[in-house]
């Protein structure tokens, strides 16, 4: 579904991604873990071109989206993104946050967009907060709304950039539950996370990124039980203490 070839990204002289070849299959749940500064988030952000790759190509369903002539807005609609800091629009109600893009881009009517939004809000247990503003919600609630906002565009892939890292510990569970639910529905997901439990439970494949490359990849079972490289062993020793 997403094919990455020879992807590199440098900020000035600082090379963050150093040649990545990877393929993400439909329905697959890929979990990306690794130490800070290893390039996890940058890789994820390259997938929908929030970061412009320095070189290499990214092909989404057979179309090279790194080609400057391709209309990136069209492909971003198909790739939902959830951010570490939620990035809800603070000047709009929850309902407006959810219906803005479907109405502006998919040209849905207000009633149609709101019906879809309410249905999804109900699924994450927040249908009573439609008229609230983001500042009135807890962190966990905000992140659930952010997931719903991406889902309202009916994406084919969901990209999660450390979705629980900014949350209070007691709110992590409610967000992970929504993500697990989504995984059960067969959504293609690429998740950057520090939640090893989630990686084990939901992931089909774990990518261990360090030093701007995918240093190791395996099934979660194999990766956590028998890490192959010194770096992944050292990393797991630290995080699984």
């Amino acid at each position: 579904m997403i094919d990455v070839k020879g992807l590199t990204k440098a900020f000035g002289d600082h090379v963050v991604l150093n040649g990545i070849d990877e393929h993400i299959y439909p329905g697959e749940k890929v979990v990306i873990i690794g130490p800070s500064g290893g390039g996890k988030s940058t890789f994820l952000r390259c997938l929908n071109l929030l970061e412009t790759p320095t070189s290499g190509t990214i092909t989404f369903k057979g179309v090279d989206i790194t080609d400057p002539k391709s209309d990136i807005n069209k492909y971003r609609q198909k790739m939902g993104m959830v951010f570490q800091h939620f990035n809800l629009f603070p000047h709009m109600t929850i309902m407006r946050n959810l219906t803005l893009a479907p109405m502006k881009i998919l040209k849905k009517s207000k009633a149609e967009a709101e019906a879809k939004a309410m249905e999804l809000l109900a699924r994450v247990g927040l249908d009573d907060r439609a008229t609230s503003y983001p500042s009135q919600l807890s962190g966990g609630q905000k992140q659930r709304v952010a997931i719903v906002r991406a889902l309202c565009m009916e994406p084919e892939v969901m990209l999660f950039d450390e979705p629980t890292s900014a949350l209070d510990p007691e709110m992590v569970g409610e967000v992970l539950d929504v993500m697990k639910d989504l995984a059960k529905d067969g959504m293609t997901m690429v998740v950057v996370t520090h939640e090893m439990g989630f990686a084990k439970e939901v992931g089909d494949r774990v990518l261990f990124m360090d030093g701007g490359v995918i240093a190791e990849q395996n099934t979660p079972q194999e990766f956590f039980d028998h890490p192959q490289t010194d770096r992944s062993q050292a990393f797991l020793a630290k995080v699984l203490m």
Partner: protein, 255 residues
């Protein structure tokens, strides 16, 4: 006894024999009532408001255009270099540098006596100059607002598939506007008060008429204090309107 009668009586008395309050009254009468002079202040006031509104319209229009173009240039996707945008950005940069780097008064003198030296419409030349001046400051205020907003907001919009301008219009500008309103209000107050400078090129606003009255009556205190009070009232009224607007925009902040 009516005011005019009182003035007649008191002005007949030699100045040396007047009490403090009586001479105070005489000076005020000459500065305000005599020959319907108060009408001149209001004529000037009207012109001040007119100049402010014209300058404001020019300033905001210029400021918005300059700010959006310069922000768009700074935020374009790496690799997509638009040469036209680069040229316009360079011109706007010079505009902001020149306007911010030279005094308002000098700009007025140049516009009034060099660029538009043949024009007799001093008031409009003044308004135009103020507008061009204000545009440079407004553009920097707006640019600051657009740049200061969490980049995550624009990223969230773009990640949903919204285009650059859709994201700007629906997400970035409404939030930036709320953030820059205090500085924008401040700039408008400065602009309102700077209209007093156009009297140096013959623009007929409050200060121009006050100076004329001083020249007639040889008495400076009252005309200038009246002028000061007029500006103060206008600024206070404007600040009040601004605070109402700020309160309304704060609706989404409630917790």
């Amino acid at each position: 006894m009516d005011i005019a009668g009182l003035y007649e009586t008191l002005s007949a008395i030699p100045a040396a024999d007047l009490s403090g309050w009586q001479s105070f009254f005489l000076k005020f009468y000459r500065a305000w009532f005599m020959n319907g002079r108060w009408l001149q202040y209001f004529e000037g006031l009207l012109a001040t408001i007119e100049v402010t509104v014209i300058a404001l319209a020019i300033g905001v229009a210029l400021g918005v255009i300059v700010a959006i173009v310069r922000t768009a240039y700074a935020q374009q996707r790496p690799g997509t270099h638009n040469p036209l945008l680069a040229v316009i950005d360079f011109i706007f940069k010079i505009y902001v540098t020149v306007i911010r780097g030279t005094p308002m008064m000098v700009q007025l003198l140049i516009m009034g006596f060099v660029v538009f030296s043949s024009s007799r419409n001093f008031t409009f030349v003044g308004a135009l100059t103020l507008g061009i001046n204000s545009g440079a400051y407004v553009s920097e205020i707006i640019r600051g607002g657009l740049m200061s907003l969490d980049p995550g907001q624009a990223e969230a919009g773009r990640s949903l598939g919204l285009g650059y301008f859709q994201t700007m219009m629906s997400i970035v500008i409404p939030q930036a506007f709320k953030a820059i309103l205090p500085s924008l209000g401040n700039e408008f107050i400065v602009l309102l008060k700077d209209t007093s400078l156009i009297s140096v090129i013959g623009g007929k606003e409050v200060v121009y008429f006050a100076q004329a009255i001083v020249a007639r009556t040889y008495e400076a205190m009252f005309p200038y204090i009246i002028t000061a009070i007029m500006y103060l009232i206008m600024v206070m009224a404007f600040s009040y309107l601004q605070s109402i607007l700020e309160r309304r925009l704060r609706a989404s902040d409630r917790r």
